[in-house]
Amino acid sequence: MVWQSMIDRMEPWRELANLQRQMNRLFDDYSSPQRRAFPAVNVYANSDEVLVTAELPGIKQEDVNLSIMNNALTLEGSRKHDAMKEGLSVHRRERVSGEFARSIELPFAVNADKISAAIKNGVLTVRLPRREEDKPKSIQIQ
């Protein structure tokens, strides 16, 4: 019993899945160029909805456009550097600026009328509920 509860706590499969993801990412760094795209995007899902998050520091709500077409979510916009004040010289310029556009394919059909999006502390979160008719249904055997 003690062992069982320890194993439960350690969640070995989740750990293993995390490890696998990290390994994949390690190799992705060398192989796939689109990983360098701005902004970086994460996609999460359960059986009812998809959650797309993107790191967009310094970008206000009105500077991002979201659209959905053919099961793909597109986010586009631009990030401007703060206006250069007179006599200001640049020592370091690491922050990305300019126009950006990304399309993310969604794992299932979503209800476009019920999408909600918010930006908080530079993180965009888009919540896309799954379309009713797309949800898995259990079928009764008669």
Binding site: R21, R25, R35, R36, A37, F38, A40, V41, N42, V43, Y44, A45, N46, V50, L51, E55, L56, P57, G58, I59, K60, H81, D82, K85, E86, G87, L88, S89, V90, H91, R92, R93, E94, R95, V96, I104, P107, I119, N121, G122, V123
Partner: protein, 132 residues
């Protein structure tokens, strides 16, 4: 690897000090600008908020630490991932010319802005030549 600047860089500096929190730590992308009166430092720290950012100044070392807690529902599974969520850490050494008592900080939309005014005596002065 010229274009790696677009990705989150993991902070190496923090490894020298043992941390009490687990998880990864990233270097925030930073712009540093200067004019004759001040140095302006802007760091991208998405996911942090003004309460979780710690700025310390000790022995001319300016340290920025932003903690980020993942706020994801546990029933969500990761489908695709391009970035990881973790804390931010970066340290800069300031020169003596900064008036350390007048440093100002603000945080908006995931960007930390620090204004470091130059000390009065350090400002360069234009010297005019007077002919005798």
């Amino acid at each position: 690897m010229a274009d790696t600047s677009l990705q989150k860089k993991e902070s190496a500096e923090v490894e020298r000090v043992e941390r009490t929190r687990s998880g990864r730590t990233f270097l925030p992308a930073t712009d540093i600008l200067e004019n004759e009166n001040e140095i302006i430092l802007m760091a991208d720290m998405p996911g942090s908020d003004e309460k979780s950012i710690d700025i310390t100044l000790e022995n001319r070392q300016l340290t920025i630490l932003g903690s980020v807690s993942p706020s994801l529902d546990s029933n969500m599974e990761t489908v695709y991932s391009e970035y990881e969520i973790g804390d931010y850490y970066r340290a800069f050494t300031l020169s003596d010319t900064i008036d350390q008592s007048k440093i100002k900080a603000s945080f908006q939309d995931g960007v930390l802005t620090l204004t470091l005014p130059k000390a009065e005596e350090a400002k360069s002065r234009k010297i005019s030549i007077q002919n005798a």
